[in-house]
Symmetry: C2
Subunit: 192 residues, 2 copies
């Protein structure tokens, strides 16, 4: 049947988009490829490896679509590309949360973030915590965004008792940029 790592990962992402992470089983993936489950283990180590490879493929696609400007602008743009990719692949956030960065493209994205943070003045000793905050902000934001969009009426009721009647809603795009600006403003205290 001619299977390869690339074909496996591509089909895995297709299943993700069609049915979500909980339907992505080794048997289902093999079935979609016209093969039996044990065949996959010739090409990948195990399911964790599959998840890692999905995150790697997504990371590689983020890398190519990011230009180089000044550091602050780069971080801003990368955050947008990151979010876009996480929204594009169903359960993309869960994939990233369940995969520790070890593959090349994924590491490259983190490296770019760290270098950019140093460029905007973040001291070396605060570099790790800042890049963690940046990465986790994007992941968490999209996680919440996806949950809300799947069930807009599902927000805990008490929230409406806190927010006044004149509460003005802001779009997800605005909220996302808003949070980024909070982070960048906060990072200034890491510059000395």
């Amino acid at each position: 049947m001619e299977i390869s790592l690339e074909v496996i990962v591509r089909e895995a992402i297709a299943i993700l988009n069609r049915e979500g992470l909980e339907k992505l089983s080794m048997r289902a993936l093999a079935g979609a490829l016209g093969v039996k489950a044990p065949a996959l283990y010739w090409h990948i180590k195990n399911k964790q490896d599959l998840i890692d490879q999905i995150a790697e493929t997504m990371s590689a696609e983020m890398l190519t679509s990011c230009g180089l400007g000044n550091a602050q602008k780069y971080l801003f743009e990368f955050a947008h590309v990151y979010r876009q990719k996480l929204l594009e692949v169903r359960d993309g956030v869960a994939v990233f949360l369940n995969s520790y960065p070890s593959t090349p493209a994924r590491c490259e994205t983190i490296k770019n973030v760290m270098i950019s943070l140093l460029h905007i003045g973040v001291k070396e000793k605060y570099c790790l915590i800042a890049s963690g905050m940046f990465n986790n902000y994007v992941l968490s934001f999209v996680a919440d965004e996806v949950i809300f969009k799947a069930n807009p009426a599902g927000m805990p009721a008490f929230i409406n008792t806190i927010l006044g009647t004149d509460y003005e809603k802001i779009s997800f795009d605005e909220q996302f940029d808003c949070g980024l600006n909070v982070l960048f403003a906060g990072f200034k205290i890491l510059a000395q």
Copy 2:
């Protein structure tokens, strides 16, 4: 055998601490309680409900150990209690990430955060995004902290190529406060 919701949740947390989330199955939980798996379904709706109840119990324990000071101090203290509780219960972060806030004590904690944020000057329209950032910061920080502590040598190798040889490590306690200060500094731009 006299089972109840409280006993079930307490034993579930005990299993979490002994063996971790992936070993917490309905069969294992029932077995530890001297009962068969289907018996659990008389007391809880399903496994999701169990996870929600664990998060609720943990949230209730956070509530009692938090005093009332000024808003900024409260947020700082609550962040510490939150982190401590997440570190105390094995896989506590995963429990929270896999449970949407709907139970009373859990909602109460979020409500307290939102009200405190309003008190320190965050405008109502930015209240949701700010409380999301606060909550996600604590969860993500502890998630990374736990991973690192479980495997201190497992950091991606490229990181050492970025950080100079004079890189000074800072403790997790310091890193945590550092990130909190970044957030509070950043939140100032949400005050007008």
